[in-house]
């Protein structure tokens, strides 16, 4: 299931010669193979994680979650196995960047990210098309934050964790709404995505494009 080069229905393959010769794309923009795209998405994740690491945080918990942007987009693009591969790389890489790999914060991050991944994937599949990525992002952030709070309550801080819970959740709600908006906007407007994932352009063609 986890093998990187299993043939998938989403695998772009070499079957779309029309899109391969379009100018303006990446150099030699033949649709790349799926595992390369996972690597690219993971690289973007880690890049965003480093950017976020540079931004000062007023409190250790108040994070933006920039690194989840590629994950949001990956929901529709990758099959489940590759999505979780990307998620795993993001969890490990982000804690490596933040220096929290062997601290309790890693457990929180692991739990939160896994929960949000599962919830977002389930919600995306269940509510296919009836929410945009904004709703999905909010659900994911809530799942992640609630799991993190619960873990923090039982592992580290005890009951007093709930004192910061409202602020923590509220910040998560706002930042995830913004992130979801950005992801949705990128997904609608990107000219690169439909080239790499031809099945997307079929989807995007049916709603009014209003160009």
């Amino acid at each position: 299931m986890r093998s990187a080069n299993s043939p998938d229905r989403t695998s772009p393959g070499n079957s779309s010669p029309g899109s391969s010769s379009r100018p303006g794309g990446l150099p030699g923009s033949r649709p790349p193979r799926l595992h390369r795209l996972v690597a690219l998405a993971a690289a973007i994740c880690l890049f965003l994680a480093s950017i976020e690491y540079v931004i000062p945080k007023p409190l250790p918990f108040l994070r933006i979650g920039l690194a989840n942007l590629p994950l949001l987009l990956a929901l529709d693009l990758f099959p489940v196995s590759h999505f979780f591969l990307l998620l795993g790389i993001k969890i490990l890489g982000q804690s490596l960047i933040q220096g929290s790999l062997f601290s309790f914060a890693f457990l929180l991050s692991l739990g939160g990210s896994l929960a949000s991944g599962v919830v977002m994937l389930a919600a995306r599949r269940a509510l296919k098309g009836s929410t945009s990525l904004i709703g999905i992002a909010i659900l994911g952030a809530m799942a992640s934050n609630l799991v993190q709070l619960t873990l923090a309550r039982y592992l580290v801080f005890g009951r007093s964790v709930w004192m910061i819970a409202p602020a923590f959740l509220l910040v998560g709600l706002i930042s995830s709404s913004i992130l979801g908006y950005l992801a949705q906007a990128y997904k609608q407007r990107s000219t690169w995505l439909p080239k790499v994932f031809p099945q997307l352009s079929e989807q995007a063609a049916s709603p009014p494009g209003s160009s």
């Binding site: 945009s132 904004i134 709703g135 209003s210």
Partner: protein
């Protein structure tokens, strides 16, 4: 490149509002707790000795696994709190808390008597037991405004 508007669905707004509602409920539950019936926090159970090694000064601050017990003020119970010297017996009855017996030399904690209002506390330093009542203070004027 189409500059189409980002499609926000009705369900997105529903999700947002539900999340907001959940946050509201959690904050209500969290912050209403302080407003409800006051509760008693007993902390103690440290096994470390009060005497340090003498070197380094801060050594004697090291404690082993201090615990907390939390009870609503309207319970009727007796709590035995272990400490370095032995057991401190705390009695909660009739909306008051007092230390019934303590192995400490000075018995200050016992002499403190009963406490019943938020903000009041009993401490037994030799046995490392601290008892306090938390909750919203009653509407009575405090020492400054009296």
């Amino acid at each position: 490149m189409s500059a189409s508007r980002v499609r926000i669905r009705v369900l997105d707004i529903v999700v947002f509002l539900v999340a907001l509602l959940v946050i509201g409920l959690i904050s209500l539950q969290t912050y209403a707790r302080g407003r409800g019936s006051p509760e008693i926090t007993i902390s103690g159970g440290a096994q470390g000795t009060t005497q340090g090694t003498g070197q380094g000064g801060g050594q004697d601050a090291v404690q082993e696994a201090e615990q907390q017990w939390i009870y609503p003020l309207d319970t009727e119970t007796t709590v035995r709190v272990p400490g370095p010297l032995g057991e401190t017996v705390v009695e909660i009855a009739d909306g008051t808390v007092r230390v019934v017996s303590s192995p400490c030399p000075e018995k200050i904690c016992i002499k403190t008597g009963r406490i019943s209002k938020p903000g009041q506390w009993i401490a037994c330093l030799p046995n490392r037991v601290f008892i306090s009542i938390r909750g919203r203070r009653s509407e009575q004027p405090d020492a400054i405004s009296q």
